[in-house]
Assembly symmetry: C2
Homo-oligomer: 163 residues x 2
Amino acid sequence: MRNENFSHLECPLARTLSIVGEWWTLLIIRDLFYKINTFDTICEDLAISRNILTDRLKKLEKNGIIEKQLYVERPKRYKYQLTKKGKDLYPVILTMVAWAEQWESPKGKVVLLKHDGHLIETTTICRKCGKAIEPRDVQVEIGPGASRPDVLPLPLRPNAGRK
Amino acid sequence: MRNENFSHLECPLARTLSIVGEWWTLLIIRDLFYKINTFDTICEDLAISRNILTDRLKKLEKNGIIEKQLYVERPKRYKYQLTKKGKDLYPVILTMVAWAEQWESPKGKVVLLKHDGHLIETTTICRKCGKAIEPRDVQVEIGPGASRPDVLPLPLRPNAGRK
């Protein structure tokens, strides 16, 4: 499988995609939220090859998203657990699920996500003002962490020539 | 590039990934939110090959996420515009950006997203009760749109044998 790299883009979205944007990765993380957390059960659940699963788990561990835990001594058996960094990906999964429910569920919802006894209605707001974040209201500016103005998104690049 | 397919999984996350989970697709959608919306400017902004961009734009159009608009008659020039379905992907992008800002921005934020004069603090809540959605509070049940119980996530499969 081709390994794409977004390191030429100085953009937080590209950074997230570099880590969790490979095929299968977010589905593996979903499984860990479901407590499907051993190599064999993830393999069975997603019906993916052992090679790909090994590769993805290694990358997730290297990036601090999961931790491997020994749970049987003989023979050695491991389970995988999301770190805080990994658990913080839950909103990404929730917003993707909400989008599919809205736009790609012609026969109705396939899974029902509930809490406190009612169906969840996912919505993304700004914690500071409590308002929904509408694309048209958002202004984008260069932040202090930007080191390479040449790879900023085009509208933020100094002297960017727009065609 | 290998084309993965998640159609053997009956899961809303898999459905969203089938449509926007390919390398580059979410970055192209991000560009459209930035009004970088012609073939040449997207190509320049992301530094991707024309082949890949052509492929991704076709798929996005086919899936009803973008529309092509003629904006110059001679020579024919098109720009791409997000449909309502495409604009509804904004929360997916916002939550990915928020995650990178939290976990993968050692030198500080690269871009600042503001609205109403303040920095956005993205948070995902349940519209019904106004509460944050914590993974541990969420119960998952089979919905009315589930047609293939054999491809439901493992914990929801009838008679699923857990190892």
